[in-house]
Amino acid sequence: MILGQVVLNGFLVGAVYALFSSGLTLIWGMMNVVNFAHGDFVMIAMYVAFVVFTALHLGPAVFVPLAAVLLFLLGVLVYFSLVRHVMRGPMLAQILGTFGLALVLRYATLWVFSANFVSLPDNLLGPVVTVAGLRLEPSRVVAGLAALTLTIGLHLLLTRTALGSRLLAVAEDRNAAMLVGIRPDPMQALAWGIGAACTGVAGALIALFFYISPTVGESLALIAFVVVCLGGFGSVPGALVAGLLIGVIESLSAFWIGPANKDVVVFILFLAVLWFRPQGLLGKA
């Protein structure tokens, strides 16, 4: 039964990984720009949750949507003020652009909140219930299910709506999209907004049961890159499957070889995938 518990916890965390990784894969697929600040976006959202809870005593019903909106705005702002300009430059400028942004966000947070680890109360959403021998922590269950729903929702937005068609059209061929009258700029800004909003929701949800610190974005970014590589660049369903998989693998390795090594396991897995299937587990060759 304990193994079932470990897998369940991994699955629930994995759903949150899937959500913020979907944001990264969307941005990547739209314009071939890697957002090195993605993990730090998640970190910012975690602090939004922390501040709203500690200063205003308001719960996730407020801080999750609020983080989504704030991060959406941050994404759009970053697109117009930074990405749009560095995209025209050489590859190195693109890398340094978002990498520099990551450092700015990290050190600004460090300056405001100090390096201390903080966290939200354990039982913010109520006490643990035990069902058929499984311990269900409400915060993890709510976070996992909400993230799962939103990731599927993002996939449906892209594949089932007219707006999604326009986003995918710009992603596939900017010029061809322009020839049917679509302006790529607003679409790309929207992709940054949606991608960042994914980190907003994911960060606010994961704050329910993760330690919060200015450097937490580093390991979350690593997870997002691994998930996107595993799932195939630009694929939301790929990110969903890969996110859940990484969540479970991480949980199992923490259980078997100790929590301190879980990042190493994830990274070794990442290298193995790059070695054997550079297009990702689900990506096409």
Partner: protein, 247 residues
Amino acid sequence: MTEGSAAGAHADKELLAVHALEAGYGKIGVLHGVTLRVAAGEVVALLGPNGAGKTTLLRTLSGLLPRTAGEVRFDGRDMRDAGPREAARAGLVHVVEGHRVFTQISVNDNLLLAGYDLPRGERAARVDEALSFFPEIAAKRLDRGGALSGGQQQMLAVAQGLVRRPRLLMLDEPSAGLSPVLVDRVLDVVTRLRAQGTAVLLVEQLIDKALAVSDRVYALAQGQVVLSASAAETDLHHRLERAYFGA
């Protein structure tokens, strides 16, 4: 077909007028003073050797590339500040080379996308209208664009252009990579468009097939118009050859 014959009432109404157009990529000039015109409802073939600048010309006319000098008027309107969106809205529609369709979305969504800014009812009607030219892809409405054969993708690309109900449809090598039967199918559409009064600027490598559906012909070489003639003129092959090599 001689100049203006079946195009009826529109025959001499100028639709596209290009004067001393220059354009290129960055510092590299490709078009060096191109002057040509297309009347409403006429089919004009644009021929020329590889690298002559045919694609560059279409890209400049549709606003994908900025012009460095010269003038483009479409339907009397100065297109100086027109980008691809404005050109498409004005009815100057460009179907790019290489049967370019959106592979991840369905045939139907490809067509809806081409008219995304139209009111819903109008858009559906336009999609049906465009598909009426291509029964073979109408049967595949729900398939992904990427699942079509090359020929079907070319038809879809042309159909996407038709959704905008163009006044001038610019086709860049629609026959490239297609079997002879499919080439005839696609060029047959040009004839049907002409019959309904839509002008076409047709870039082609298949000279005879292009001339058979055209009223007039221009030849471009090294970024300049080197020949302008009626498609019915005799001895065109010979003249084209000489024009290409600057003899």
